[in-house]
């Protein structure tokens, strides 16, 4: 058999019992003949507790020291996991991100992996050990300082190691059974997806699905590492994310026309009102936003009112960046020449994702019909080759997700996805 990289999140190793349960699962993989490399996050609330301590000693924790602090969390979980595995009679060695060769840039708190040199990990598994690696952390190439990878960093560590070690699969263990056609907390009839392409998973991740982060999927796609997202609490098969459909039993799992419905209520909408409708205006606005290092999501420019020569430009962005964006625009008011700004954080985004959309006319129409039938008003629309997103009132989001999920035959009672005909999308 080949080499498997498994990643366990904080909820899977929240306490000693969790660590022992995970150890047993890892040993099972080893007994099945695999070489096993494990990436582990900090136990349960450890990271939050460390952040709390940092805030007690300093209101603005410094990047380098904050990373040094946070990386203590994985150090604890990985050492305990190695001990628990040894206690089951198998050899295990734990490695920090630095020891595992996870080389990053120097941007503390959200470093990017620039190279992985897993010589020690390779040696360790070749000697018959299970190698346990701290997720979320690395060492900077220039200064040899400890860095952390930011949100979702452990998943990225796992995929990056899988790529560097040429692993057969990267298994991401979490507290849900896999990727669903919609958030099961909102849509009771949401179904687990057996297989989804990298592209569709990327769109779902960008659209609010929290199971895998965009960054991790992007890395896996670049190096063509199949990801298997599954629960550490059950023995069920989860969701495969890969380039090629997986084989289950005798038949290939085909991707459904529609992969799923994602929603996101973490964004706000800013409308720049009364912008002169002339070339270069949008560029000035979005340069101001970019200079403030704010990532925006959807952008819509209204049709100009011929009578005034003025137009409105709306865009969405994370709520957490709202204040900063407003400040940046106010500072650039003279340069832009707008009349006023409107800020709205009571919005929600619903996205329908599926590679099949490209070749199935009528998906867009079906989407809008479903929203209309549910009485949901649409404020912004944005589309890509494999996704349609709309912005609605935040209060309408759950109802909208359920309506679309049902309309596209994704509810678990129905066995087949509906095929849409009709007048183009």
């Amino acid at each position: 058999m080949g080499l498997v990289v498994q990643k366990y999140g904080g909820s899977s190793v929240a306490d000693a019992e969790g660590i022992k349960r995970v150890a047993k699962r890892i040993v099972d993989a080893k007994k099945n003949g695999h070489q096993v490399v494990v990436v582990v996050s900090a136990m349960g609330d450890t990271t939050d507790e460390l952040i709390d301590l940092a805030e007690q000693v300093s209101p603005i924790p410094a990047g380098r020291e904050f990373d040094m602090l946070l990386t203590a969390g994985e150090r604890i979980s990985m050492a305990l996991l190695a001990m628990a595995i040894k206690n089951l009679g198998h050899e295990a060695q734990s490695f920090t991100g630095s020891q595992a060769g996870v080389i990053t840039d120097s941007v503390h708190n959200k470093a990017r992996i620039i190279d992985v040199t897993p010589g020690r990990i390779r040696t360790s598994v070749d000697e018959g050990n299970i190698a346990i690696v701290a997720g979320f952390q690395g060492v900077s190439q220039d200064k040899k300082d400890i860095t952390t990878l930011g949100r979702g960093g452990s998943d990225t560590t796992a995929v990056a190691l899988a790529a560097a070690l040429d692993a057969d699969v990267c298994e991401i263990y979490t507290d849900v059974d896999g990727v669903f056609t919609a958030d099961p907390r909102v849509v009771k009839k949401a179904r687990k997806i057996d297989w989804i392409s990298f592209e569709d998973m990327l769109e779902l991740a960008s659209s609010g699905s929290k199971v895998l982060l965009h960054r991790c999927v992007e890395y896996a796609r670049r190096y063509d590492i199949p990801i298997h997202v599954r629960s550490s609490f059950s023995g069920l098969k989860g969701t495969w994310v890969s380039n090629e459909p997986i084989q289950q039993g005798d038949q290939k799992v085909e991707q459904a026309i529609i992969s799923g419905v994602a929603h996101d209520t973490s964004e706000a909408k800013i409308t720049v009102v009364g912008v002169p409708d002339k070339p270069g205006e949008a560029a000035v606005i979005f340069r101001a936003i970019a200079d403030a290092e704010i990532n925006i999501d959807m952008v819509v420019q209204n049709v100009s009112a011929a009578s005034t020569g003025l137009t409105d430009i709306s865009f969405t962005l994370p709520k957490t960046e709202g204040r900063k964006a407003i400040d940046a625009l106010e500072r650039a008011k003279t340069a832009i020449g707008f009349e006023s700004l409107r800020y709205d954080d009571q919005i929600g985004k619903i996205s329908l994702v599926g590679a099949g959309m490209k070749t199935n006319p009528g998906v867009t129409a079906g989407f809008f019909e479903a929203l209309s039938d549910a009485g949901v008003n649409i404020e912004l629309i944005s589309t890509s080759e494999i996704r349609i997103s709309v912005v609605t009132r935040a209060d309408d989001v759950n109802e909208a997700v359920r309506a679309v999920h049902t309309a596209f035959g994704l509810d678990s009672d129905s066995d087949e996805a509906v095929v849409y005909g009709g007048t183009g999308r």
Copy 2:
């Protein structure tokens, strides 16, 4: 000014308040014009909590992984301390033992420092930073694995760094005001010692004084690094430990004839009864003990009873090693040929330490007289050039310490040490 190494123990950084208090003290040293390198232990009970976690996942934690686990403790305290210093407007950088160049052998859980290559620390302080270094930990020379230095390891880290950086002084901050003439919990009138030689401090440390461990003092003596033991909770001067008496105001502090009285109730006594009184017998006994890796303390061989040709040999050792020693001797019973073993863990040791003893006859006599007057029975006696130790019943120890402390004029009410005349020791 020069370079100062300061070490803060776990009780000094037990919580966020403690860390902020220590940060202020460090910044004061920096403001006084010193380059400052700080060695810090894990916060308060962190290490115990980590050990507890380890025991929950594995009854016999493995050395390598146990060290990986424990070193998370200093990582937390050092990062927080660096943040707290930055919050006071000064630059600080934290370093792991490995980053600080603390190179050790590969004996996990009680590694010995074999080299210190503090290039990064030197660069950091030369750039104007306060360097914060994790105590208690290093990296093994051959395997590049994380190691811990065992009990008292942070003090040793501090002294070793002070030596490698050619520091002017190594300040050991603790929760007591310095080294006392006796344990203040036992002797209310114990006095703080202003200065004590390395040799006397070594004897006190071997005899039960817990303020500094033997290993740390030995390292300081070898590299001639003056140690200043003081409280992190007060601004008082503490105790200087060095080769040469320190200067206080206009006059040199002279070492007293007697440095102090130490006691120790952590030992047990084993008596090997009925050993043939012939050459080589003791060697067989202590080879058996040494092969079991047990350190013994005092050894006494009784005068042989001429009628039987048999003798008894008694020795003391840490209570924690008692079971192992008895097992080792039982296994060697045929080789040794003794009649029986007696084990006694209700003993205590009282030691009088002072370089002045060498040239002051009558110290030994005065010591025994004080014990006699207090009605304390002596079971074993052992002497060195600068120490007399006796073993008594454990119940008698506190009374014996007080009697000796008073007899030698060490009580804080009396201003001068008594000079002893009389018939040699």
